[in-house]
Each structure stands twice: as structure tokens, then as C-alpha cells.
Amino acid sequence: MLAKLIRKTFRGGIHPGDFKEMSKDKPIETAPLPPEVILPVSQHIGAPAKPVVAKGDHVRKGQVIAEAGGFVSAPVHASISGTVAAIEPRPHPLGQKVPAIIIASDGQDQWLDGLPAENDAASLSPEAIRETVKQAGIVGMGGAAFPTHVKLAPPPDKPVGTVIINAVECEPFLTCDYRLMIERPRDIVAGLKLLMKALNAPRGCIAVEANKLDAYRALEDAAAGDPAISMALLEVKYPQGAELQLIDAVLGREVPSGGLPMDVGACVQNVGTAVAVFEACRFGKPLIERVVTVTGAGAGRPANLLVRLGTPISSLLELCQASPDVNKLVLGGPMMGLAQYSPEVSVTKGTSGILLMTGARQFEHQPCIRCGRCVEVCPMRLIPSDLSIVCEAGRVDEMMDNSIMDCKECGCCTYVCPSRRPIVHWVKLGKVQLARLKAKQAKKTA
């Protein structure tokens, strides 16, 4: 059986320890209903949603409280029933304060009328699936939070041939996707079928890393009997689950620089997204909760929690017995997650994990010794050493020469750098400087 499993991969990448043991065997557990939820209007890439409720309004679970602010946007739904306590800027995982709708729970946890519904998901037309996904506010749940319905609406000249389910979860520590694969493989496959239908895609593929063989088998069983769906077992390597590297590994195609997966006939969806699509189509359920892994050396009781969106991180820390020694709080995994300055941020649609680190320290960096390790591991095959030098010096004109926009900030270069250079930090800064310069130039020419 194993002989037929060809392990595919991409060039570059690293092998950090996976640290998944801490939480991989913890079944998904429903977190207690929070007394208050904080729902930022920006939980996705694209235009912020526009609030449609006012302070004092009573809302019920599943009710739209902010509608999409454009095509590339997603509505926000109430994740509990209660009263709108305030609409005001609150700390956001990205670092700034962002307008958020705060709902004080009435303790009833009442659904909006008509929810949950009992729909025959299989009979939905492609248009109906797309519309349902859009109305449900579903975004990519692997972390990037790109509105899913946009991915489901490629232009006619770019048909999608293969929908790839990203069941890789290559970030160390995180196990939320793994638990879904083990516990709900049928829902994932049902979601994949809906996604394929929405895109008129003839093929589906579920891609799993070789360190999750049990999940691979569960999904294989669930997909058995559907000749359109294939399985792919991938080499264990970070960032195997990055969209571009996944497409390369599964289809052997490279998405053109600056292009989208649809340019090579692919559409990649995370397992969590597939489950959300299934639930939206089957039960009419909007995206109001997600699975979050709470883990790390500072987690006394690591867990995979089914959490209502908007739940303050601080309440989950209590639940998981966070150690007083925690000195770094990361939303997401250790490679691409965002360090938080306050536990008062809340779980959003893209929050896959809460990593509690103890003994974290600021690394002192030295000049580049040109060892070439970053070049060796860069999955985009850039020259991170050169890029780091021009970004560190703020040489904006040279950033484009060094393909700064092709950098996906996966962190491989920074992980391996023996001089401990904060390459990703400088690249992020460089992108901001570049954007400012472009805005300035646009103003001049206008």
C-alpha cells in the first residue's frame, strides 16, 4: 500500500521540528460560550465589512452584523446572541486598532430564525453554491483569510481543472486541520465536492503531508468511490502547505509571478474552509466559529478548541491554563504567525492557532556571512541574502530588482540564517516603504 504513495514536493524548504505531539491527540473540544465577543469588521483580505447594526440592537446567532464592503470582502455574522454593546476600534491581530462590533451575550445562544436549515446540498447549482459561500462570509481558514467566493469566480478564460484541498498543515505546533481530518473527513470531502461543482472543476485532489498517515487514510476512505477525487501524499517539509509550493508539488505547475492559481487551472482550499463550505450549503450556517489550536511550552493544557469568532484570546488562555511565564503570544504558527502585544485581541476567521511561548528572546543579528543557506531553502528561489541587505538599508529602488513582491514571507531564510538576521522583518518593512513610494509617485503623476 505504501509503495504506491509517491511523496511529492517542491524545491527548497526546511525541516523544523513539528511539535505537534502536544496537541495532536486532543479531540476538538467546544470552548465555553464567551460572555462577550469582539468581531472586527476586517477579518479577511480586502475591503472591510460595513456594520449594519447599531449599539443597543439585539442580535441573534448567525445574523449579519456587517455586510461585505465590496466584491473582495466578506460579511460578518453575530457568533452569539446578545446586545450590541459598542462599535469601536479594538486591537486587531495585525497590530493596529480596527473597528469592531462588540456583542454582550444574553446567555441564550439563540439562532437566527430558520437556522440551522436542512438543505439538500447535493442539489445546489454552482451559482447557488457560490452565493451561499459568499453570504456565509467564508474566507480561507488556513490563515490568509482571502474571501473564498472570489476564488470560486474565475473569469471564463481561466477554467479551474483541479480543486486542491490543502490538508498539509505544515506550520509546526498547529493541529486544528489535523483534528478536522481525523474527526470530520466526510465533511471535508463533501465540501470538496461542493467546491468542485461551484467551479465546474473535473478533478479534486486532497494533499496530505506524510507525517499524517492516519489522516491520509481517513480522507482516502471518505473519498473512496469518487473517481474524480485523488489523494496526494507529500514530503514533510515546510512550507509544503504554501499555496504556490502545494500547486508545484501536486500538479507540477508554477503559478506565474504576480499571477493566481487559476492561471494554471488550480484552486487551493484549506480543510477548514471545505468544512465551512459544507456546513453553509448543508445547514445554511454562516462562518461563526472555527477550530483553534492552543499550544506551546506555555500552555498547561494544550487543546484543539471549537471557538466562536470574536472570543477574546485571554479567555482561551485561562481555559488552557497558560503559564505565567509566557512571554510571547503568537496567533498562528511559529513560522508565519503574528506576535501580539495584548491578549485582548480576539479569534478571527484566520486564527488557526494560539502559540504560547516561554523563554522567547530577541535575537541579536550579525552581518550576512554569505553562507547561502537562505538561497538554498527559499521556496521562491530568490536571493534572500541580497534582499535582506537592500531592505535593511531601505534601498527601495533595489527592492524590486530583488523580486521583493515574490517573497511570501514564509520565514525559511530567517529560520536558517546563522547570523540571525531578521530577513522577514526587513522584507515586510521594505514592502511598506515600497508601497509608500508608489503611492507618492502615483500622486505626482495624477
Binding site: Y341, S342, Q366
Partner: protein
Amino acid sequence: MAESTAARLLVSASPHIRAEESVATIMWTVVLALLPAGMFGAYLFGQHALLLIAISVSAAVATEYVIVRLRGRASTIGDGSAVITGLLLAYIISPSSPWYVPLVGSVFAVAIAKHAFGGLGMNIWNPALAARAFILSSYIIAMTASWVYPSPGQVLGDLSRSGTVYKKGRVTAAPYDALTTATPRAAVKNEIAAAQNPDWAGWADLKAAGDKPADWLKRIHERNRTSYLDLLVGTRGGCIGETSSLLLVLGGLFLIARGIVAWRIPFFYIGTAALLGWALPVKFPGGTAWFAGDPLFAVMSGGLMLGAFFMATDMVTSPVTRKGMIVFAVGCGVLTSFIRLYGGYPEGVNYAILLMNTTVPLIDRYIKPRKYGATR
């Protein structure tokens, strides 16, 4: 974690974990890999060689300390790079050099070749090799005294007295002469030069080996190269740390296994030198010998092993891309072979690597991997 702890949450950009390896662990591992060859050199050439190594390393570290203080930076002695420079410099000087040769060389290596260019990571040339070029032109007698043909059995005995041969940096008398960087190489080179004279006394022996130019070249190698076993073990004349091919290869393989050295540079450098050492033509009166060189001799003689595994692989002064490393290594091999066969020196490793170091910024500028998703 209570709210009050928010104040001490560390915020930084991702990634939040790092690999264990640091500049210091890399450098000290290189030191470890270098030690056996140096210890063998000290055994082979006696305590004067050991003294030279000690002087070289101490001077390099002391210079590093002083210069970094002068530049107002945090001490970088701990990173081990100065120790490597000191060791490498000692390894590529004659075991009979006077004490001040490694001293001047190390100071030059660290102060000028390294820190004048901005310190670790910024230097264009490998500091030890640049320093060797400097002392070669400064102490030409000490570095290139007249040739000897040491037999392995005598090496230890003769050279343990080497300290007495020198007075004030000059070769005093000639019970024996100082060794050069590449004695067997020099022997071969000298005899090829001598054979350009049709009346040379050695021709009878060469002609006895055959009537083709290739036979003559092979005979010259046989007469002068010392045995392959001596070349492998290192019981031959040469610089302090370059003689033992075996220990250098083992040290190099250790670094490759540890992922510290990229195999491409030594592989292509040594491969090119072997190929060209075999193939390149040698002119004789009466014909030209093509494809008749001795590739094993080319590989194990002179400073090739030390240069290929420990100097051409210097991260700072070699390209960062795979393809660039190959171009660089082949370039080193070509230059080494041409200098050896047609240049003024019997050995070309030093200048070959220095010249290729100079081309590294250019190589890195024009040879890059194809980007993911690059459209042409």
C-alpha cells in the same frame, strides 16, 4: 497569563523559532575539522611548526580584538573566524619560516584583508590567502627558497632542526634548503623546464621510458612525485597544513556531512584540476604530450586539498547560488592548472582562489536560480 503580563509580551516579526546553528557554531566546527591536518603538520615538521601555528592564531585573534575595539563594536573573538584565519595562514606557510612571517601575515589578514573591507562577511578575498600573497612578496626567500627533494623518511628529522637554519630571516647555509609550498610539484615543474634543453642529462632516462612525449611526461612524474601513499598520508614536503590529503579530505567530508560546506565547490574544483592536470599539453623538444599528466598527483600535491575544502569554500568569498558555486569552482580549477603548468609558480591554488574571489560579486549578479513562477 493575566492581563498584567501583557506589558512584557515580546513582539517581533515571524518566524518565531530559529535553527540552532549560528555563525559561531559553524566557525568552531570548521576549526575542529582543520585541527587534524595541523596536528599532523606539527608532528611531521616538529615543534617549530607548532610554534608558527600558535603565533599565527594568537596574532589573528589579538588583531581581531584590537580592530573590533577600535571600530567600537562588540567583541567578535567568540565567533571563531579569526581562529580560522590564523590556522589557515599557518597551514600555508613553509614549516621553516621565521616566527615573524605568520605574525605579519596574520595581522595583515585580519586588519587589512578582513576589517579594512568591513569585517566578517564584507571581505572580498579570503583573508588567509590574501595574507599569503602579501608575505610571499614580502619575504620571498622565506617563502620560496631553493628546491629540495625530501624523502618522507627524512622529513621529520631534517625539519625539526629547521629553526636553526634561519637567522634574521635569511637562509644561512646550505646543509639543506628550505621547503617550498609544493616541493613535489616544484620538482616536476623544474624537470619539465630542464627537459626543454635537448642536451639535458636526464633525457637518456626519459627516452628509455619510450619514444612518445606522453611517455616522457609520465616518466618525469614517476621520478619526482613521491609515492601516492606519501601524497595521501602527507609524508612529503610542503606547507605546514597542506601535506596530508587524507586528513584534509576527512575534515572536508565532515564539514559536508554537517552541511557547513557545499560539496559542489570541492568536487568541481578538484575534478577540474584532475581533468586539466591530466589533459593539458606539455611541450617538449620533439613533441607535445597531450592527455598524459598525472591526475592523482594533480589532486594530492601542492595545496589543492586544503584550498578546495577549506579556502575556496569560505562562505564570505564564494558565491551563494549552486550554479554560481560550480562556475567559481571550475574557474578555480582552470586557473590552478594553468598556473601550475604554464605559470611562474609551481603551485597555483593561492592565486587561483584569490582571482576567483574577485569574480564572486559578478558571478552572484549574473548567475541566479530561476525564480518560482518566472515568466520569460
